[in-house]
Each structure stands twice: as structure tokens, then as C-alpha cells.
């Protein structure tokens, strides 16, 4: 695989493969940044299948397209099934000598959290189990944003959305999000990781590792949503950083073949100083109703602590050596 080296933002800015200007993502939306990092990680030809959602609707309003690589949108819940068809066609046509390029094509499916945790979970599960050679990128904005900020099973506890609104009695969503990254690990996907656009070098390396790995791989990228989380539009990358620094969003990776097949975990970033979760919650109006409810904030803190501790133990038991 032809990987590219970018270690400074200047390197990244020079890289050409990105969404074209003129896409209609909201001011401050981080997914154009996510896509730039993704597509800059390699020189290999890419073919992308995109689920219905914000990314698809803002990047391809006919007669325009912002995509520099072959791209298909089929429906909401089937990006993984669609890419499995594309990848199977590639295998068959290659075997029959009908592929023009000598280069190895890489296949990527991209979906939002709704298209991944919820309605698309089955097709993703099937595609991973079948072992197709593809990378699934989940851009996780923690809700159905395209349809107006409804809850998904990625929406965090106590966040207010239009279908889990904070009211006089109920303080927003009442469930913890399910851990999709664990679910993918349970599928024994070959390489699984969590990433953040704030830590873009780490994210780019993860993309490279995933694309170098044969078989199904999965990266869950946090993607703050300005209208959905309701914060000033210049804060997206900063919020992603606060999510990581407060341990709300853990940067880690997993390889199923590590430790002789027992699997291996690695926490890629350990915040050096304590950052209170309140710093992450406060700029977001979806949490406005809990800022004066310390008992609810404590719930979140406890949850974060449990998640971190659990992962540290896993890492200790089953370390992933580079």
C-alpha cells in the first residue's frame, strides 16, 4: 500500500485528495476534515459507499459532487452490504481479467451513527462476519442529525435531542450509549479503533493500519455536530479534543490476531492532566439542563471512569505490541 506521510498541519494542507470546495456541510462541521484525513492517508485508489445521512446529502446535491473518488450511495441501512457487493465484483472481475488498473483498489464504507449503531447494524454485522476486505468508517455525531437531531443509540446519557428532549420531568436521554466499538471487536474484525479529528495524526495512522490489514476493519471517529450539540461553530475540533482529554472519548485500537489470537488492546492517548467532564459538557446546549444537577454529572463521570478502567484492564491483560 502506498501510504503517505503527513506529520504537520502544513503537510496535511498540501494533500490534494479531499472533498471539493462547495460542499454544503454546516459551518464548523468536522466531517470534511475527517474525510481529508481519510483520503490523504493513502495514494491507493479508493471506492466509497456512503449511507444516507448528513455526509451524503451535503456532498452530492445534483448536479454537483464533492467526491474525488468513485462513490456510491444506495440507502440508509446498507452501506456495508453495498460495499460488500462492490468488493465482491472487484474480486470476480479481477479474476476474470476485467479490471483495468494494476493498482490495488481499497474499499471504504462510511455511515453516521444512526446508519451504523441502529438501522445498519445488521448489514454491517453480516459484512464483517463474511470477511469482506473493507474499512468501515463511522462518523459519530451521536444522533440522527440529517433528519433534525433525533436520538440514536449513540446519543449519550442525558443529552437532549428532538426525540429525547429535556423536559420538566425527564432530563434528556435516559440510556447509556451502546459500545459499538466493543460490538465490532466481538465480531473479530481484524482491526478496530476509535479516533478523533483533533488527534489527526493518530487518526491517519489508524486509517493506514486499517487499509494495510486484509479483511474487515472498523474505525469509530467522533464528529461533533454544531447544530446537534449546539455550540459555537468554531469549536468543533476543540470539542473533539475536550472529549479525548476528559476521557469521554478514548483513543484506542484493537487487533484480533494479537497475542496469538486472543486479541490485543492499546490505549493510544493518555491525557496528561485531569480535564473535568464539565469542560466538555458546558459549551454544548444539549447538556444545558444538567449543568446545575451535580448528581447527573456524577453519573456521567462514573460512567467515564468505569469505561476507562475497563479498557486499562483489558490493555493490561491483552496488550497490543507494535
Amino acid at each position: 500500500m502506498a501510504t503517505k506521510k503527513a506529520r504537520t498541519l502544513r503537510d496535511l494542507a498540501r494533500m490534494k485528495r479531499a472533498l471539493a470546495p462547495g460542499h454544503r456541510a454546516c459551518a464548523g462541521c468536522p466531517f470534511p476534515v475527517i474525510l481529508k484525513i481519510l483520503m490523504s492517508a493513502t495514494d491507493d485508489p479508493l471506492v466509497i459507499a456512503n449511507a444516507t445521512g448528513c455526509m451524503e446529502v451535503t456532498s452530492t446535491i445534483f448536479p454537483y459532487t464533492a467526491w474525488p473518488v468513485p462513490w456510491i450511495h444506495n440507502a440508509f441501512e446498507n452501506a456495508a452490504a453495498t460495499i460488500s457487493g462492490v468488493e465482491s465484483a472487484y474480486k470476480a472481475l479481477k479474476r476474470r481479467g476485467k479490471i483495468k488498473t494494476e493498482k490495488e483498489i481499497k474499499f471504504i464504507a462510511i455511515g453516521g451513527d444512526g446508519g451504523t449503531y441502529d438501522i445498519g447494524l445488521q448489514s454491517l454485522s453480516g459484512a464483517i462476519e463474511r470477511g469482506h476486505d473493507f474499512l468501515y468508517i463511522l462518523y459519530n455525531n451521536e444522533g440522527y442529525m440529517n433528519t433534525g437531531i433525533q436520538r440514536s443509540s449513540a446519543t449519550p446519557m442525558y443529552a437532549s435531542t428532538t426525540t429525547s428532549p429535556a423536559g420538566k420531568v425527564i432530563p434528556g436521554k435516559l440510556q447509556w450509549r451502546k459500545e459499538i466499538t466493543d460490538i465490532m471487536i466481538a465480531h473479530q474484525a481484524k482491526y478496530v479503533a476509535q479516533a478523533s479529528p483533533s488527534h489527526w495524526v493518530d487518526f491517519m495512522k489508524k486509517v493506514q493500519k486499517a487499509l494495510e490489514t486484509k479483511g474487515p476493519t472498523f474505525i469509530n471517529v467522533i464528529s461533533p455536530c454544531q447544530p446537534g450539540w449546539n455550540y459555537p461553530p468554531d469549536m468543533s475540533i476543540e470539542l473533539a479534543r475536550l472529549a479525548v482529554e476528559s476521557k469521554y472519548w478514548i483513543l484506542y485500537e484493537y487487533r484480533s490476531d494479537a497475542n496469538n489470537g486472543l486479541g490485543g488492546y492499546k490505549i493510544n492517548y493518555r491525557p496528561r492532566k485531569e480535564v473535568s467532564i464539565v469542560e466538555f459538557l458546558k459549551p454544548q446546549r444539549r447538556y444545558r439542563h444538567i449543568l446545575d444537577r451535580p448528581e447527573l454529572i456524577k453519573d456521567i463521570e462514573d460512567h467515564i471512569r468505569r469505561n476507562w478502567e475497563r479498557l486499562e484492564r483489558l490493555e493490561k491483560e491483552l496488550p497490543l505490541e507494535e
Binding site: F62, W67, A81, G85, V86, A89, L93, K100, T101, G126
Partner: protein
């Protein structure tokens, strides 16, 4: 006489369809099992396991994913096939429309089975009738021989028209019924179909394309109109594919409709699928033993709707019994009757039409059903007016 070598073998409908798929050796097959179509998927997996085809077989986790993977594979330029029935086809529903609107010539073997509820595994046409507006070419076959040939000619038709096509057999009656079938050699089938040559494809990395973009008020209608026009034009492509099939193999297939003893008919029956065979026998009895001037028109292709052929064969009959193996639950009977009425309505000369719904959930369709239908038409001919637009035959009421 066949121009190409044929071999006579005993096959069920499922075996014949799976064999046609083997001979076609598609690039990709993505499928999921469901009675009574399961065998098609099973037999095909065995061909893959035995190396008799080098197709990429994708054993998906649902029919929704089967059709989704077919869309991805066809958009990547592959020749793609699948098979299903009933609930499986219903689960694909969302993606059927996407396959046709993206102009992807996927070919699907469907074994007709009643839609739940109540759950049932036997034949009626409610499943494919439920997909009638999905933009697929729909071919209904009368017997196993025709099912076999239709799968081959469907691939050709689909690829000429750049539209997906489905070929059906009646569940159990044909899917599990064994017949002597004349089959072609693998090489001839492959030579007849040649390679799929898509105009665009996702794997052409030097010419990146965006497939399936958001299309709003300012363009959607033009694109939908273009698709509609493609369906208008598909009729010619379907005729061409059948002509080429006949020229290549020396075997003639009916195309859109098959008239039976209609020349001087006063009464006519329209029917689709395997019941047409019984219907033709009933016509013989009614003509030869009872002196009734009755004929039959079998609809083989339901989409695109053969309104010109219907006008040609049916405008001169006086009393037309349309038999539907599905009900639209709209108090007017089945879709076939509604559409045939529309095809004939504006003609100055046209028959009186009455609709009969028959054979739901695999209810047996004996000769008596057809006698009953014609008796009712005679009753109408005698000046009586039916209470409803539709009667139900073969059911305890």
C-alpha cells in the same frame, strides 16, 4: 428445430433456474434462502463449491442486504443475479426501486409465494404484484422449460434495456414440479450472452463517478422521466432479446403474451403463470365439448405492461374474464384486471370485463375454476349485472 445442441433432462423449476444461473456463470450472486426458492441458492452454492462456476457468491444475512450487495456489484460493472420469494422480495422492496432507478441490469429468479399474514409457503402472485411499480421487467412463466429459457433471455433483455429483470415460477407447482427439459450447452449460453458491457462503473478509477446523489426538486423529475422513458423503450429491447434468442438457439419463446384459440373467440380468459396450462385444457373442453367460443391470453410479461398486445388480442372479444392470483384489497379485485381495463377503456370496441381472484395461498386451481369463470361470464352475457367487480373462485364463502 433447435439450431444448437440440446439435451433432455428431468428438472424441477428450481433446478432449472439454478442450472441456467450456472450456465450464465454470473460475476456475482448475492442471495438468501427462503421457501420455495431456497434450492436455487443451495444448488448455486454447490456449483461454487465444486468449481463449476467461478462466480463470487455472497451469502448475505438478509434479502435486504442481498439486493443491496447486488446494487453495489452491478454498479461496479458486474453481471449480477439473485433469487428469492415472498417475504424476501418484500424485504428487498426499498432497494428494488434503487436498482431500477440506478439502471442496473440485475436478474432475479423469484418463486411466487403468498405474502404473510397468514404465513403460508405456497403460490400466489401477491409478492411480485407488490413490486409491480418498482421498475423491474417482470416475466411470469408457465412451465419449467420456459422458466429455464426465460432466465437466460432475461439477462439479455435486462442488459439491453439497462433495467433489472425478474423471472418467476409458481411456488411448488413449478419450483418443485419435475419436467423433461431441453437444456443448452454451457458454452452456447455463455456465447449467447457474451460479456456485460456497462457504460459506467465504480471500478473505473480513472473516471470517478458519483452514483446515487441527492436529487431535489430541480432535477428529480427529469431523471425519473428518463427512467420512465427507458421503460417505454425496454419493450423494443425485450423483443430484440427474444428475437436474438430465437435466432441463436432456434427455439421460439412467446414474448409478452401468448394467445390460445382466440381467433374467433367471444369469451376470453386472461391468466398468468402455471395456471395457464390448466386454462388451455379448460378452453379445449369448453370449445370442443360444449361449443363455447372461448379463448385464452396468457400474460408472460407483466412489466412493462403489454397494453398494445392486449388491445390487439382482446378488443374484439365480447366478454373478458381476467384472473388474478392476488388481490389489491381495494374492493376492485386484482391488479391485472385494473390494468387491462385501463388498456382497453378508450377503445370504441371493447369487451365487458369481470375479475376473478383465484388460487390464493396455493389453493389448487382445477379445470372447474375456469368453467365457473366462463359460466359467470355467460350469466353476465345473459344480461345480468354482478354485484361486485370481482368474484372469488375456489374459496369457501
Amino acid at each position: 428445430m433447435a439450431k444448437r445442441k440440446t439435451t433432455r433432462v428431468a428438472l424441477t423449476g428450481n433446478e432449472a433456474m439454478a442450472l441456467a444461473m450456472k450456465q450464465i456463470n454470473p460475476d456475482v450472486v448475492a442471495a438468501y434462502p427462503i421457501t420455495p426458492a431456497t434450492e436455487i441458492v443451495q444448488l448455486f452454492s454447490k456449483y461454487v463449491a465444486d468449481g463449476e462456476v467461478d462466480t463470487e457468491f455472497v451469502p448475505v444475512e438478509s434479502e435486504h442486504s442481498a439486493m443491496s450487495a447486488c446494487v453495489g456489484a452491478a454498479a461496479a460493472g458486474a453481471r449480477v443475479m439473485t433469487g428469492t420469494a415472498s417475504q424476501g422480495l418484500a424485504l428487498m422492496h426499498e432497494i428494488l426501486y434503487i436498482a431500477s432507478a440506478l439502471r442496473l441490469p440485475i436478474t432475479m429468479c423469484v418463486v411466487n409465494r403468498a405474502l404473510s399474514a397468514p404465513i403460508n409457503i405456497h403460490c400466489d402472485h401477491s409478492d411480485t404484484m407488490g413490486s409491480r411499480d418498482a421498475g423491474w421487467i417482470q416475466i411470469y412463466t408457465e412451465n419449467v422449460q420456459e422458466a429455464y429459457a426465460s432466465v437466460i433471455v432475461a439477462v439479455k433483455s435486462a442488459e439491453k434495456a439497462n433495467l433489472p429483470a425478474l423471472v418467476t415460477t409458481d411456488g411448488f407447482v413449478l419450483s418443485h414440479g419435475m419436467e423433461a427439459v431441453e437444456i443448452f450447452d454451457d458454452e452456447d449460453v455463455r456465447e449467447f450472452l457474451g460479456e456485460r458491457k456497462p457504460l459506467y462503473n465504480l471500478l473505473d478509477i480513472d473516471n470517478p463517478i458519483t452514483i446515487g446523489p441527492l436529487d431535489l426538486q430541480d432535477y428529480f423529475f427529469e431523471h425519473k422521466r428518463a427512467q420512465i422513458e427507458a421503460v417505454f423503450e425496454s419493450k423494443k429491447h425485450i423483443y430484440d432479446a427474444h428475437r436474438e434468442f430465437e435466432e441463436f438457439f432456434g427455439v421460439k419463446l412467446p414474448v409478452f403474451v401468448e394467445p390460445y384459440r382466440l381467433d374467433d373467440a367471444e369469451y376470453a380468459i386472461v391468466v398468468m403463470g402455471s395456471s395457464a396450462g390448466t386454462g388451455k385444457d379448460a378452453v379445449d373442453v369448453m370449445r370442443d365439448e360444449r361449443g363455447i367460443k372461448v379463448g385464452l391470453l396468457r400474460m408472460r410479461i407483466f412489466r412493462p405492461f403489454p397494453f398494445e398486445e392486449i388491445q390487439k388480442y382482446l378488443s374484439k372479444v365480447k366478454y373478458l374474464a381476467v384472473m388474478d392470483r392476488a388481490d389489491s384489497l381495494n374492493t376492485m379485485g386484482g391488479p391485472l384486471a385494473t390494468e387491462i381495463a385501463r388498456a382497453l377503456y378508450h377503445l370504441s370496441e371493447r369487451p365487458i370485463i369481470h375479475n376473478f381472484v383465484y388460487g390464493l395461498g396455493g389453493r389448487d386451481v382445477p379445470l372447474e375454476n375456469f368453467y365457473e369463470v366462463i359460466e359467470k361470464m355467460q350469466w353476465i352475457a345473459a344480461g345480468n349485472t354482478p354485484e361486485r367487480m370481482v368474484d372469488y373462485v375456489g374459496v369457501r364463502e
